[in-house]
Symmetry: C2
Subunit: 335 residues, 2 copies
């Protein structure tokens, strides 16, 4: 393969000059720079990343790990999220390393390998949990990271926060206006911070609307359509079933729609169903799904941008950005 030496030899100049010309330093004559750039292109030269990383002591790479419990879950989420991260990173000549951990153990192995081994300069986390060990490890190591969501006990890292309190209030007022008053929620694993937040928003909104809040209608599922289906089926078979089912994400809502169809219910009329995230497919369900839309691509970009600032030691103007979901009313809630 072509190295910096080859380029230097071809042009009869030093490797120092080649390196400086390519990296855009100002103290290289315009003519020399152009010759170097041309030669590099013709010879197919691109600096060896490992050598560069070793010398610069940074990898120009950031990492994202799909947590253990998320394998094959929450699929549209993942694509949007990775696209958003990649978009920001490539603009800054950073690369994105991705892994899917199938257990906490494996995830921990990746952290060790990537962080202690300097394979990445920073990490982006999502799906925070109560007492999240990842946050503890990263904080202790003083390793740069950003998160989607935040843990209650700390705010020492830049993060993007989703605040659904207002949007849920609107949603529940809308439900109430259409006569849906017995409201259930299909959430995720209880340790998930996001689950706890959603329950809180919904509870508050229900009470603010003067409706009864029934804790028995709060269930945990696994963030995918299968689990949404079976959990919704349970709800529909209660002696006093709900007339509205809110879901922690759109995937879960897809399963819920299917369960309601299987029960012969007229969705939007006899029962209301809503999702969260506003994924693309939600427009095309039968009936179209009411959902709380969040700009996942933009959020991921933001997390990447904040992380790069942090890595480069730049002060952040804001280290907490709050996103308010946008209520998209569609036919699944009678809208």
């Amino acid at each position: 393969m072509t190295t910096i030496k080859d380029v230097a030899k071809t042009l009869n100049i030093s490797i120092t000059t080649v390196s400086r010309a390519l990296d855009g330093y100002s103290d290289v004559s315009a003519e020399t720079r152009q010759r170097v750039i041309d030669a590099a292109r013709i010879m197919g030269y691109s600096p060896n990343r490992a050598a560069r990383q070793l010398r610069k002591q940074k990898s120009e790479t950031i990492g994202f790990i799909l947590p253990a419990s998320a394998l094959r879950f929450d699929e549209p989420f993942f694509t949007e999220f990775v696209s958003g991260l990649g978009d920001s990173l490539s603009r800054n000549n950073y690369d994105l390393l991705v892994a899917n951990a199938t257990s906490d153990e494996q995830e921990c192995y990746f952290y060790n390998r990537w962080i202690n081994g300097h394979k990445v300069d920073g990490m982006v986390l999502n799906r925070l949990q109560v007492n999240d060990w990842r946050i503890k490890i990263l904080t202790d190591a003083r390793f740069p990271f950003t998160t989607l969501g935040k843990t209650p006990d700390s705010k020492e890292y830049p993060h993007v926060l989703v605040d659904g309190s207002q949007a849920y209030l609107e949603l529940i007022q809308h439900l109430q206006a259409h006569g849906f008053t017995r409201i259930a929620f299909i959430g995720g694993p209880p340790r998930l911070i996001n689950h706890q937040n959603q329950v809180q928003w919904i509870k508050t909104a229900i009470q603010n609307c003067g409706l009864p809040f029934d804790p028995e209608l709060i269930l945990s599922a696994e963030l995918n359509s299968s689990s949404g289906y079976s959990t919704a089926s349970q709800l529909l078979e209660l002696s006093k079933p709900p007339d509205a089912i809110l879901c922690i994400n759109d995937e879960t809502a897809f399963g819920t729609l299917s369960a309601a169809h299987a029960h012969g219910l007229n969705i939007g009329k006899e029962i209301a169903i809503a999702g969260f995230d506003g994924v693309h497919e939600s427009r095309f369900t039968e009936p179209p799904l009411t959902t709380l839309d969040i700009p996942l691509f933009d959020i991921a970009q933001l997390l990447a941008d904040m992380l790069l600032e942090k890595i480069n030691g730049n002060p952040l103007e804001v280290d907490e950005v709050t996103i308010h979901p946008n209520l998209l009313v569609r036919a699944s809630t009678g809208g």
Copy 2:
């Protein structure tokens, strides 16, 4: 950060021995090895990847680029695929670098950066096109890669092939048995090899069933639900509309289902709709979607495994694995 020197100093041995103990060489005494392993764990030592890569002249990383045209398309595909790749790779202590290119130009930039810069040891490609420039570049550079699908002009790289001819024959026989005989197809961009293959399979199957093949019922869309919706709407407004619509993937079929609902059609009775891929969500549409299921996770694993063999210079027993989709008959085709 902890380096190999720190570990060596702590144990009063040479860095040579530390390196050999950690990498599992046999010529280290069991006792020394254990001491080294323990010290490394306690001190939080993991070999600097850049130094290791530079010395070994390999990155222990492979790359996957989501092609330009695929941004935010085909979402469930991406998750399954990346999960499958990551699963195999991590088992072999390889990492996965991912990028989403938003243009051919940008994609080319990544190839240059990653390959000439030795950032990755191999690449996995999907969505092959006619005269695919990526294949040309990689072949010319003698750079290891594997592909999902293959180009007609070459077979010099290991690949996984999907052969839908048999499954489509079964599907069309099934349609015929239920009285659906005017069959349309919503494909993808015409340059996509996969599109061309699907058209061929469908055409052959239709003719083998003694049905008329109408080229006007073959349309191109963009592999997502929106595009499926609008393209299906066009089909349904023809003076002689089809009574069956096959789709290049499940996403497109989701949009098609929605369009059929919007036209007030009784799906499975007045019109049949089928997808391709067998993504998770296809079970939960209304009605559930008939689809040709392929094991995407397994396919990705296979592609990663073949690539690693290639990288390590091992001879491959097989460099072409053919997958036959499995017809899942559900209510959307009256099944």
